[in-house]
């Protein structure tokens, strides 16, 4: 199989765009920046599609097994004989799929932003950051080396930080960007230590080598990592858990999710790209990348499963009460990523039981489209009403028909209504859960109902319900804003028909998903129930919903306050880190450590002050000291030596 270095261009074009816009955008390029960004992404997306076509259809390997291909690889930094960071491009079904998804969604977002961000002061900066993000995300998905993925992991983190904080003069945006970065950074700490464990444990940082050394039979590295244990848990489990923590942080899994809702302070297209379609699924991608290793450790798989389930349920519940439309979407994202993760958790590695794996990545694929669509629609809505709050909206279907339609499609897709994209992927996840663990299945089922409910709550509140007071009627926006909605809407409808299992499996061997119509009844029913409930409560303006929420009392309030998780974090950081550690550390430094230095100086001065009396200015005293010195020395030499 021959791939040429053009693949590198997929990454390098956005990078070039970033450098160009970042260095010269403001002064030289100005309003053309958006065009530059879009052109770059078009090229990149085109190349990605070409690569995918090549990978899946042209250069089909013998036996039809899609293997990992590494067309490019350079040693970037050598740590020691075995360990080095290599910069390379890894093509396997998952990464190729991700390449397409990322470039495509990014292109859509770029397009949308052309109109959405028009007139912003830092227009070119915005596109520069978007390009930077795209570059980093692409780098992340094609990583060949666990350290490479960590690097790009950090880079997407920082691009996310920069983009969330785009409206830098808004204190809330600054706070949100900070929070996002720090929380994910905290998770990355786990990732880093996990990398160290895996790297030193296996003697390699290369994905392929790590996987083969840890899964191959009778490998000394594998045995070594399993037998060494710390606190009763094997080194391997530690390492995987820590790596997973990294992934969970990026993917906003409970309890590291707190940054995601706040991250909605960023421009909405950014949320569509980063906090819906691409970056937040990095955790899923990471687990999938190391899936062979993860699947050897049932305990960690359980952890992944239950983290996913809890996040899915938890986020869905909270989403029902939020009134900021972007926050609802954010929680919905978290919930959907929960799905993907537990699907991985319940999956196996062999062709037979890998439904979960396939479903997870399939859901990732479809979710990228409909969730970015949802966000872009939300963006369009916000652009229209200049508010994020549901109560400021309503009855917008007449004003923005295309948006309305797109949003509806996306809602149906996420609710798992056939034949929209979400249906197929969710179906597969539920099937995997059913095959593996019943409690998981039931929870997932219930959650899918709740999902439908809150999505349609959102939909009805925005497009139906009461009439919003619009300040100015400037229509739905430019073509560049509508086009992405249309394209993504189409994909959300037909995306599910893609024969995913034939191409993307954990082993590379094509399989095919079996659709049991009977199995689909329950989920679809749950979905419809959710929609209907939402219809009853929210289709028309009424106070029914308020009554219900009032009747739940504390439960509702705590739900509305997101179960006080933020407060706990605040307590930990403010009260413990700052007050209990930071302050004492600073105090100690100033008063004890520095104090000791100053005291030693002052003591010297004090002693010098105390002995000044010896220099009394009186000749006779001098003479007495003189003779006393002689006598002392003599006595010392004679008797005390």
């Amino acid at each position: 199989m021959q791939y040429h270095s053009y693949i590198a261009l997929i990454l390098l074009i956005p990078l070039a765009s970033f450098l160009l816009l970042g260095l010269f955008g403001r002064k030289r390029i100005g309003v053309a920046s958006g065009i530059v960004g879009v052109l770059a992404l078009t090229a990149s997306a085109g190349l990605s599609l070409y690569t995918a076509w090549q990978y899946f259809f042209v250069q089909v390997p013998e036996g039809g097994i899609y293997r990992a291909v590494i067309p490019l690889k350079y040693t970037w930094l050598t740590f020691s004989q075995n360990l080095s960071i290599d910069m390379g491009i890894l093509l396997d079904p998952v990464s190729v799929m991700m390449l397409v998804v990322v470039t495509f969604v990014s292109l859509m977002v770029h397009l949308f932003s052309l109109g959405y961000m028009k007139g912003e002061e830092r227009y070119s900066t915005y596109f520069a950051f978007l390009s930077l993000f795209t570059f980093s995300m692409l780098g992340l998905v094609v990583s060949t080396n666990i350290f490479q993925i960590y690097m790009f992991w950090e880079l997407v983190g920082v691009s996310s930080y920069l983009l969330i904080g785009y409206y830098f003069d808004k204190p809330s945006a600054v706070a949100a960007s900070k929070k996002a970065f720090i929380v994910t950074r905290f998770a990355d700490l786990g990732f880093l230590i996990g990398i160290l464990m895996l790297g030193i444990g296996t003697g390699s940082l290369d994905f392929g080598t790590i996987i083969s050394r840890l899964t191959g039979p009778g490998m000394p590295e594998s045995a070594g990592m399993i037998t060494t244990s710390f606190l009763g848990i094997s080194m391997l489990s530690w390492a995987l858990t820590l790596v997973f923590i990294g992934g969970a942080g990026k993917s906003a899994m409970f309890p590291l999710h707190i940054w995601l809702p706040d991250a909605m302070e960023g421009p909405t297209p950014v949320s569509a790209l980063i906090h819906a379609a691409t970056m937040v699924v990095a955790g899923v991608y990471l687990v999938a990348r190391l899936f062979p290793v993860f699947s050897t450790d049932p305990a960690v798989m359980q952890l992944i499963t239950w983290t996913g389930v809890v996040s899915a349920v938890f986020a869905a519940v909270i989403a029902c009460t939020q009134t900021d439309i972007k926050r609802v979407l954010a929680y919905s994202t978290m919930s959907q990523i929960g799905y993907m993760l537990f699907a991985l958790g319940v999956s196996g590695i062999t062709t037979e039981n890998s439904t979960g794996y396939i479903g997870s990545l399939f859901h990732l694929f479809t979710h990228a489209f409909f969730k970015s669509l949802l966000f872009l629609c939300a963006g369009a809505v916000i652009h229209m009403v200049h508010s994020n709050e549901m109560r400021d909206m309503g009855g917008l279907r007449k004003h923005m028909p295309i948006t309305h339609l797109a949003f509806l499609i996306a809602c149906l897709a996420i609710s798992g209504i056939p034949p929209f994209a979400g249906f197929f992927s969710k179906e597969e996840i539920l099937l995997a859960a059913w095959n593996s663990s019943k409690p998981v299945y039931y929870l997932a089922l219930a959650t899918s109902g709740v999902t439908a409910f809150y999505m349609f709550r959102l939909y009805f509140s925005i497009f139906h319900n009461k009439e919003a007071h619009l300040h100015d009627h400037h229509g739905e926006g430019t073509l560049s804003m509508k086009l992405p909605l249309v394209l993504l809407g189409i994909l959300s409808v037909i995306g599910g028909l893609f024969p995913f299992a034939s191409y993307i499996t954990p082993t590379g061997i094509p399989s095919h998903s079996e659709m049991h119509l009977s199995f689909s009844i329950a989920p679809v029913l749950f979905g419809i129930t959710g929609i209907v409930t939402a219809y009853i409560l929210y289709f028309r303006a009424s106070d029914k919903s308020d009554q219900i929420s009032a009747s739940f009392g504390i439960l509702y309030r705590s739900e509305y306050r997101k179960f006080y998780i933020d407060e706990v974090y605040l307590f930990v950081t403010k009260k413990i880190l700052f007050k209990k550690i930071g302050k004492p550390a600073a105090w100690t430094d100033k008063h004890i450590v520095d104090g000791a230095v100053n005291t030693s100086g002052n003591m010297t001065l004090l002693v010098s002050e105390l002995i000044r009396g010896f220099q009394s200015g009186k000749v006779q005293s001098y003479a007495i000291y003189f003779i006393a010195g002689i006598i002392t020395l003599t006595v010392y030499l004679l008797y005390f030596w």
Partner: protein
């Protein structure tokens, strides 16, 4: 003569030495301090003469040293007295305690 041991002469000179020293330590008048110093030097002279005579009569090192010490003592006394008189003339006091402005 021989029944007086050399050590006795040395005791004498040592005693004189420390008497002089005591005087130097306690007299507040500069001129009396100078006298005490003369006592000190004289006791050393006794030592030199006695050693020379009783122990090393071959050479005359001790005797000569004594002569030079006497000379130097005179010179020293002269300069000291000049300084004292200058001090007195300018400040009307030869109390050593009054001349302790330079200190610490």
């Amino acid at each position: 003569m021989n029944e007086i041991p050399l050590t006795h002469i040395l005791f004498l000179s040592t005693a004189l030495f420390f008497i002089g020293m005591y005087g130097l330590f306690t007299r507040r008048n500069m001129i009396t301090m100078l006298m005490a110093i003369e006592l000190l030097l004289n006791s050393v002279n006794i030592n030199f003469v006695a050693f020379n005579k009783y122990l090393y009569p071959d050479k005359m090192d001790g005797i000569f040293f004594t002569i030079f010490i006497i000379t130097i003592a005179a010179a020293e006394a002269a300069v000291a007295i000049a300084i004292i008189i200058h001090l007195y003339r300018n400040h009307k006091s030869i109390d050593i305690e009054d001349a302790s402005n330079l200190k610490f």
